[in-house]
């Protein structure tokens, strides 16, 4: 058996396990049921995308997985343990990068915040910061303040800070929603290569159906009021994905049609 085949088998075996599980998770906030009886399992190393019309609770589901909310009933577990608080191995990339960065710290300082929280000794931080900035395509911007950077650069910086946590899981809440199309495609490919290389598990919330299919191993569509699962699609597209070839693939077009029909049906 070749090494590649063995690795593939090992990867397949790992994917059978569950890293994050929603078991009949329900969340009520202020008398409103945001999410009801959500059952969802995320396997280690998987790239799961969640889509849905606005108000379907996709961001809320992410916040439950992050430990920023606790379910009213049911359970959300990480590696079998109930999630009660955010944990360092789970990093969150927020959509509003402008609000999630410290405006009074430079790019290097913002990454340092995560390293300080993980008690990385001061003398090791410099090299780590430099490596992280290179990793997200921001070498040479260490001394810039967020206000001196474009939206795309700020989001890269936030991703770098999240990677500084050395997370096993990345939770991304419409991270590219506010960026222009070209920046967006570049960042999509970078997130794919970063997370693939480190076998990071990703839950990626987006309202862009093409983006969900392009990135994901699996796409889950939520139904609104209250949020629950409406459709689940396995994305069997070859990796590495390619902005042109993947988006022209017949399977991509088939999934896209299926997902569009689903979303359209939920809007009535």
């Amino acid at each position: 058996m070749s090494i590649v085949a063995m690795l593939d088998e090992a990867r397949a075996a790992r994917r059978q396990k569950t890293l994050i599980a929603f078991n009949a998770a329900t969340l009520r906030l202020g008398g409103k049921t945001i999410i009801e009886n959500l059952d969802l399992e995320v396997r280690p190393g998987e790239f799961l995308c969640i889509v849905g019309a606005s108000g379907c609770g996709k961001t809320t589901a992410l916040r439950l997985a992050a430990g920023l909310y606790r379910p009213t009933s049911g359970a959300v577990t990480f590696d079998g343990e109930p999630i009660t608080e955010p944990r360092r191995e789970v990093a969150i990339v927020f959509q509003d990068y402008g609000k999630a960065l410290l405006p009074w710290r430079t790019a290097a300082g913002n990454i340092s915040l995560a390293l300080e929280a993980s008690r990385v000794p001061a003398r090791e931080r410099g090299a780590r910061i430099e490596a992280l900035l290179r990793k997200v395509g921001l070498p040479g911007h260490a001394d810039k303040y967020p206000s001196e950077m474009s939206g795309g650069m700020q989001q890269r910086l936030q991703i770098a800070r999240c990677l500084a946590q050395e997370p096993t899981t990345l939770l991304m809440d419409e991270p590219f929603g506010a960026l222009d199309a070209m920046t967006r495609q570049g960042l999509q490919d970078e997130v794919l290569s970063l997370t693939h290389a480190s076998q990071t598990t990703v839950i990626f919330v987006t309202h862009d159906l093409d983006e969900a299919i392009y990135l994901g191993d699996r796409v889950v569509g939520l139904l609104p009021h209250p949020g629950r699962i409406g459709i689940e699609l396995d994305v069997d597209l070859p990796r590495p994905r390619d902005q042109l070839a993947t988006r022209e693939h017949p399977e991509f077009l088939r999934l896209r049609r299926q997902l569009f029909d689903f979303i359209k049906a939920t809007e009535h």
Binding site: E85, P86, R88, W104, S118, S147
Partner: protein
């Protein structure tokens, strides 16, 4: 500095020079008796004489000390109190109404109470200065802490930062522009109250110098003291601006 900025600077100096010239003219024409109004020439001479042969320098240092100690005490206590109240919604709800009662209380009404309790001492002066100067700082700090971007607290939670780290690395720096603005207001209050306390309690300082000069009809000395007080307020305010510019360099980085 560009041309327009230089022109503005020149214009502001011309206005100041014009005012001094008008003052000299008024004194020379004896519009007011020289017993009450010396010209800038006599005031300047008195200032130089006060420093070279009198104890004006000692008085200046006395006032600066009262101002600095009172202001520092107010700053430390004000930031601590403001942070305590501002970082909790419950504290804001419970304590804010009491603060609103104490805040508009004229400090001059507190002075007799302070004298009754502490006597005509430096301790009394420090208490009065700190009490008067604390309010702008407390209110600014509360406001600054209440206005911290909630998303940053979520970032802190996801990084599992300690409570001390959240205050030191997120809340305080975020509130710093407000805090510095409050400290700048307090600086003026501290100077005013230093002079008032020196006059009332006869403490060594420019307030006492001004009072004694006025009583002895030494108007040139009186004006020298007043000029020195004006300069003190002006220069401390400039120093404060420089500190602000340095600490808040990130605010101007992009613009």
């Amino acid at each position: 500095m560009n041309r327009a900025a230089i022109l503005w600077r020149v214009a502001s100096i011309l206005v100041a020079a014009g005012l001094i010239a008008a003052w000299q003219l008024a004194a020379n024409l004896r519009l007011v008796s020289p017993v009450f109004l010396p010209g800038p020439d006599r005031a300047w001479a008195a200032l130089v004489r006060g420093f070279s042969s009198g104890d004006l320098a000692g008085k200046l240092i006395g006032t600066l000390e009262h101002m600095a100690y009172g202001w520092l005490a107010a700053s430390i206590a004000g930031i601590a109190l403001g942070a305590l109240i501002g970082s909790s919604k419950m504290m804001r709800a419970y304590v804010a109404p009491s603060l609103e009662f104490l805040r508009p209380l004229p400090v001059s009404a507190i002075i007799p109470v302070a004298i009754a309790m502490l006597g005509l001492t430096r301790g009394m002066a420090l208490f009065v200065i700190a009490f008067g100067a604390i309010w702008p700082i407390v209110l600014a700090t509360i406001h600054g802490f209440a206005a911290v971007e909630p998303r940053l607290y979520e970032v802190a939670r996801s990084l599992q930062m300690s409570r001390a780290a959240i205050i030191g690395k997120i809340a305080l720096p975020s509130a710093l522009p407000d805090i510095l603005a409050g400290m700048r207001l307090s600086l003026t209050v501290a100077l005013i109250l230093s002079v008032v306390c020196e006059i009332l309690a006869g403490l060594d300082g420019l307030g006492q110098w001004v009072l004694l000069s006025a009583r002895a009809f030494r108007s040139a000395d009186l004006f020298a003291g007043v000029i020195l007080l004006g300069a003190t307020g002006y220069l401390t305010s400039i120093a404060m601006s420089l500190v602000e510019q340095r600490l808040l360099a990130w605010q101007t980085a992009a613009r």
